[in-house]
């Protein structure tokens, strides 16, 4: 797994090591150059002073082994070696006076020759001398850094841990959240790197909480509303059991059948409504012709209309293609037409129309029923709201379903009185 701490530590220490190495190398080269100049100067001074001395003054060389880091040679005429402080070293006579490097059996030596009037004086020093000096200087510069390196590592480790501590507390706070307790995480005292994450999490928690509350409310409402039809069924069943005559029993079973149908209808409407919840609908919107949906819904509701002696029809159907969910739109229109038929008196009339207005597709369902009092027009879209019309069976969910589907299509609903101030006119305006 990726770790910010390990990553940070690795790169910081790597950077430090590279920096230290670069410092060491540059110090070494600079020190070597300076040491070389110094050595060369010393060599030259020594050679000049030797060339001014008489030969006899020079110390005789006893040792066969090289003991000193300095060699002096005096060459006479005809390439004759007159004097050598370290015969063992065997530095040849250089063709030209001045500086030169010579490879000997004791490594490379630096030689400076100065030409007198009858002799050549050569003074030599091992090149390793100033390389060692340079290395020592470079080491002196770098060594404190090498000591600091592990300390710095520890410091980085601790700082990163300290810096990441808010993440640990956020983690435990998130862990403490349950579907039942989705209160926001504390956002104060957070470093600005963590704050956006927590803010986004809180946002999500909020939306989740609202969705859960909606669902819970819906389930509570649904359970509550199911009591009524189930109570009816229970009572109808008891009456059926008590029936003493065949006629009584048959009537009781008819009642029971109606009770069960009502419960089934309510469950169906609840499911439809649940499917229209914004969180639940996953179907994509597609180009859909509203006039086609209108014809379909009216055809579907015609048997009910015939049974109730209501004249239902499509009065106007302009082709209107909107972005929509055809199945949902069919459910919406079926609910509207079903309502209109149920609330219409025998001999009533229900008109469905699809027209255009201001770049909107306008769907209207108009009936000749009792209409909805102005005071109730807001509340009729609430789930389970039922007006004072007690004799029309219904779940109280039809218009809530219509509203849910309209919302998904960004459509607006308007309730008005029908033609001549009678009945109800429902207009739904879809953006095209």
């Amino acid at each position: 797994m990726k770790s910010i701490r390990r990553e940070l530590l690795l790169w910081l220490l790597l950077g430090l090591v590279v920096t230290v190495a670069a410092a060491a190398i540059s110090t070494y080269y600079q020190a070597r150059r300076e040491a070389k100049e110094l050595f060369d100067y010393q060599l030259k001074q020594l050679a000049l002073s030797v060339s001014n001395e008489r030969l006899s003054v020079l110390p005789q060389s006893h040792a066969r082994e090289l003991e000193e880091d300095l060699a002096i040679q005096v060459w006479g005429q005809n390439q004759k070696l007159l004097y050598s402080s370290s015969p063992d070293l065997e530095i040849p006579r250089q063709p030209r006076p001045g500086y030169s490097n010579v490879a000997t059996r004791y490594g490379r030596w630096r030689v400076f020759g100065v030409l007198g009037h009858d002799k050549l004086v050569q003074v030599a020093q091992p090149l390793s001398g100033y390389e060692e000096l340079a290395a020592a200087m470079a080491f002196r510069v770098v060594s404190p850094l090498l000591v600091i390196l592990p300390l710095l590592g520890a410091l980085v480790w601790l700082t990163v841990r300290r810096g990441l501590r808010p993440l640990t507390s956020v983690t435990s706070a998130v862990r403490a959240r349950t579907p039942a307790a989705l209160q926001p995480l504390p956002e104060s005292d957070l470093p600005e790197e963590v704050q956006p994450l927590v803010h986004a999490l809180n946002d999500l928690l909020g939306r989740l909480g609202r969705a859960m509350a909606t669902q819970k409310g819906f389930i509570a409402d649904a359970a509550h509303e199911l009591r009524t039809p189930l109570t009816a069924v229970q009572l109808q069943l008891e009456l059926a059991r008590w029936a003493t005559t065949t006629a009584e029993r048959e009537a009781a079973f008819d009642d029971l059948q109606r009770g069960v149908s009502r419960a089934i209808h309510l469950v169906g409407q609840l499911l439809t409504l649940a499917r229209q919840e914004p969180e639940a609908s996953e179907r994509l919107l597609q180009p859909t012709d509203l006039s086609e949906i209108a014809r379909l819904a009216v055809a579907e509701q015609t048997p009910l209309a015939v049974a109730r002696q209501v004249d239902v029809g499509v009065s106007d159907a302009v082709q209107s293609v909107i972005q929509g969910d055809p199945e949902a739109l069919r459910v919406m229109l079926s609910n509207l037409v079903d309502n209109a038929i149920r609330y219409s008196p025998a001999g009533g009339r229900v008109d469905v129309a699809v027209t255009h207005r201001d770049h909107h597709a306008l769907l209207t369902v108009q009936d000749t029923g009792p209409g909805i009092p102005i005071a109730d027009r807001e509340r009729v879209f609430d789930r389970f709201f039922r007006g004072n019309e007690l004799d029309v069976p219904g779940s109280g969910l039809g218009l809530a379903i219509v509203k849910g589907i309209a919302d998904r299509h960004l459509a607006t609903i308007q309730l008005d009185s029908g033609a001549g101030g009678r009945g109800l006119s429902v207009s739904i305006s879809f953006p095209m």
Partner: protein, 220 residues
């Protein structure tokens, strides 16, 4: 005994109405709060079965208004509101009992009988008066240990009288106990049932108070 049923749901109302009449009680059924207030104002009931979620006036409001007026009629709340707070509120506002939907008819009837028993100040479910024993739950009547076969109307009339021994009930009061709204009442029905009861119970059991009505004595 005459009850007022206040229930907006057509199916539940119809079933309870039918079912309670099988117990020999007469039941008037209204479907909203305003009709309930009107009925309570105009008729004398022995008890009210009150739904809470009512159109026009909420059931709790109806109950509150009755209690404020000093009406101590037994009220059994029948509702889908089952939260503890709802039950507590219902009882505190003045309900005598609280029944949560879905319920069944037997339980509803038993609770109604219990309410009536309490109102009459009896602890025993069996009404005893002299040699007469009347069990409202089983609707069994015995006289000196021997079972009596009574029709539903006879039983209703007898129950009304033995429920308040010593009290004189007028003919119209007794008619109300026998018939709900919309039921045809024949002019001499009460006299007919009184006559039949006297044949079964003995002539002295029910006394006629001339010009006033009928009664059974506390000590027969």
């Amino acid at each position: 005994m005459r009850l007022l049923l206040v229930e907006d749901d057509a199916m539940i109302g119809q079933s309870v109405h039918k079912g309670l009449r099988r117990f020999g009680w007469s039941v008037d059924w209204v479907r909203d709060g305003r009709a309930a207030e009107l009925a309570l104002q105009n008729e004398a009931y022995d008890g009210v079965l009150l739904d809470l979620g009512l159109p026009r006036i909420d059931g709790l409001e109806v109950l509150r208004a009755q209690r404020r007026k000093g009406n101590d009629i037994p009220v059994l709340v029948i509702t889908a509101r089952d939260a503890i707070e709802d039950r507590v509120e219902g009882l505190d506002v003045g309900a005598d009992d609280y029944l949560v939907k879905p319920f069944n008819m037997e339980e509803l009837a038993a609770r109604i009988r219990a309410l009536m028993r309490r109102r009459a100040g009896r602890a025993s479910p069996v009404i005893a008066l002299g040699d007469l024993r009347l069990n409202p739950a089983t609707r069994e009547v015995t006289l000196a240990g021997k079972p009596l076969a009574l029709s539903a109307r006879e039983l209703a009339l007898l129950s009304a009288l033995v429920d308040r021994p010593g009290a004189v009930l007028s003919r119209s009061q007794l008619e109300e106990k026998l018939y709900g709204w919309g039921e045809e009442v024949e002019s001499n029905t009460v006299e007919v049932y009184i006559h039949m009861l006297r044949k079964k119970l003995g002539a002295d059991f029910i006394r006629t108070v001339r010009g006033v009505g009928y009664m059974v004595s506390k000590s027969v």
